[in-house]
Amino acid sequence: MPPVEAWEKVYVDPEKFVQNDPHAKVANCIQCHGGQGGSDDMAVAHKGVVTDPTANAESATKLCGTCHADITKAQVKSLHFDSHGYDTIISQRLGDAPASHAAWEQAKANHCSSCHTSCGQCHVSQPTSVGGGLISGHQFKKVQAFTRTCTGCHGSRVNDEYTGRNEGIPADVHWTKAGMACFKCHTGQELHGMGEAGNQTERYDGKPAPACLDCHPNAAPGQGQIMQHNIHGDKLACQVCHSVANKSCYSCHVQTNEKGQPFYKIEPSVITFKIGLNPKKSADRPWNYVVLRHVPIDPTNFDFYGKDVLAKFDALPTWKYATPHNIQRITPQNKTCDACHGNEQLFLSEKDLKPYEVKANQSVIPTRIPPKVGQ
């Protein structure tokens, strides 16, 4: 993400915002940001200033919710706002001891909570996690440039895959052919946690949203002329045939230094393409096979905060349900039938696992791979 000059981060555009933005007509600076009016002294004027006034649920509801009530009501409980997806997943691996939960709460506060977003960090400024700063002179936009907002946080996996930044791996066809920004698929309803998205306990809860079939209904089994779609039916997630190699991460260890500053150390990422059994199989996601991605969990991630914090490490696979953002029509595995059938390298096996994760992944390792069909 290109850097923003210090002055530009706080520059308010008189035309874009002061004169023309509707939000400048309903509230003044101090009503949202605090501070002291009527002083020319910078230090005095800035006393009590809050740079991101919508960072907590109470203030977001009070400020944005006054006019955008439905959106704000959902947003302050959404995955984006409070990052409760971390809790959903990590809590399943925590030990029963209260100390495990206390350690996780502390680690989460130090390392994970900064990844939540506020109303302002999507509609007015860059995310705080990438340095913040006003994007367009404090102008509120329904949709800011995704390169300044979404990919600020969803960078190393989503953005690198979608825009083709992983060496030798093509960008997503939705980007190269159609130039589609994130919002073309990910609706405001979803991003604000409205409707069904409001019930999500983690990213892949409930129905796929967005779903490929929303735009490609003829790809559904029996609905089109493409034989492979009709043959495979609901056995395969779309990504099994149409995504390519993607980024897997390993072992993110978190701690703080002597000054209390949080930091992490993570092993170098690895480009992989692995098909495995569907760990989220349900009526909403009925496929037998999905693409899996390794997540950066290992049994000692939180050792800095306590012993055996992840005492139930094996409760979930370390190879997780994934939807890589590098969709292609033709991929190495769908060029021919036997590019996939009988190709052991594509399917997750114990050979792909480190000793500490063999047990955790038994439920996603295929017991047999589809045999060759001679085509």
Binding site: N28, M42, G155
Partner: protein, 107 residues
């Protein structure tokens, strides 16, 4: 005879009365034209409803309970004055001290 004399007198009286009224009206000054206020030319173009943005702005709120006065920016004049002044900000804004990079690897 008498009937004709009365009718002539009445006619004469009516004619004199009409002449008198006309004379009185002619002597009055013409009414002054009413002053029609002329709209002053605006010094600035009126704000457009939509910001000049590449993307549509968020929908203007239909009602705003936050609006406290007719001139909501008045109490924050100094904020606006400084934060819209590019030169001042360039002089005053300080780049954040780069914090020691402690983390290793992709986030």
């Amino acid at each position: 005879m008498l009937k004709h004399a009365i009718s002539r007198t009445a006619w004469l009286f009516g004619a004199l009365l009409l002449i008198g009224l006309l004379a009185a009206c002619a002597g009055q000054p013409a009414p002054a034209p009413t002053t029609v206020p002329v709209a002053e030319a605006p010094t600035q173009p009126p704000p457009t409803a939509a910001p000049t943005a590449t993307q549509a702005p968020t929908q203007a709120p239909p009602t705003a309970t936050l609006a406290p006065t007719t001139a909501p920016l008045s109490s924050a004049d100094n904020c606006v004055k400084c934060h819209t002044d590019q030169e001042t900000l360039q002089q005053l804004a300080k780049a954040e001290e780069p914090t020691e990079k402690l983390s290793e690897g992709e986030g």
